[in-house]
Chain length 180, copies 2
């Protein structure tokens, strides 16, 4: 951030009076430009015991497999965002069951939320931001080609929990990036 | 938003190519300025069966009672944000038990999350953004003087669930504002 989005004058990066964090501040119109973490919402879409993954057609991690997920937009709920992203990336309609993982990724200022979901009728396709979409039996998940740590963590838990049939909410922190 | 925070030129509000939502777009440097919902994180702090509330010293809802909560900051987790807000507003240290309510407030682009928590040693005080802080027996919660719908919804559930001793996660949507 270089300029004030309100008045167009240059901003400075300093701790405002009465605050204890650095902010982008405009000394012309006195605007303080707060920045906050963003939510990424997605689903674990299941059909006949298989999980639907998408291969990314965009950076970062072009060509790697992901659960359908993306940035939550203004005016929607996390559930609506997860359903919309599943529709956009995998052309699939889902029924959402419940929040399954909430994973903080503090080094990139994100919170990733995945909901368990069931495909409504088993149909899916390849959305604009995907190269491919495919149902994987749990024994065949492409562990070496997953896009992000939150995808790996969510799928690892899902495989383990499928054995017991209990899917408790997991809240955790991710503090690493994927290797090449 | 009137000006591009990257280059300082005026922005336009339109649907960028390949997108389906209105964004603030800079036609000079081609920046697209996305806006996303913010997370408000807080706690339901309990001590000896009583819940700790704060009376707000700031707008909106100056003078009304709230659970300690506030905007999650970059580089922290939701749990860290909830603990920090409880420290700042009620000068209280808490142990967090688990996520209790996640309430979408889509008309103001917020997601409110409240964690159940226990005061570590029963001490608390009045933070800079509070006029007062007080432990309330559940029978004496000031229902007519609560600050926000998400506070009311969380406390109503907490009172009901205390009767059964079960505190399942509740995910819901809030689509109204408090009356005067």
């Amino acid at each position: 951030m270089n300029y004030c989005s309100h008045c167009g004058n240059p901003v400075t990066h300093r701790i405002p009076e009465g605050d204890n964090r650095h902010r982008y501040v405009c000394d012309h119109c006195n605007s303080i430009h707060y920045e906050n973490p963003r939510i990424v919402a997605g689903t674990v879409p299941v059909w006949n015991g298989q999980v639907l993954l998408c291969r990314r057609a965009i950076e970062p991690r072009h060509g790697y497999w992901t659960l359908p997920a993306g940035f939550m937009e203004n005016t929607e709920t996390t559930v609506e965002a997860a359903i919309r992203e599943t529709r956009e990336e995998a052309l699939a309609e889902v029924e959402v069951d419940g929040l399954y993982t909430m994973l903080h990724v503090p080094h990139i200022d994100q919170v990733h939320m995945f909901f368990r979901a069931r495909l409504k009728d088993g149909t899916f396709g390849v959305g604009e931001e995907s190269l491919d979409a495919q149902l994987f039996p749990l024994a065949d998940i492409p562990w070496q080609e997953l896009a992000f740590p939150t995808i790996r963590e969510t799928l690892e838990r899902f495989v383990r929990d499928t054995e017991t049939g209990e899917f408790p909410l997991h809240i955790g922190d991710i503090r690493y990036r994927m290797g090449k």
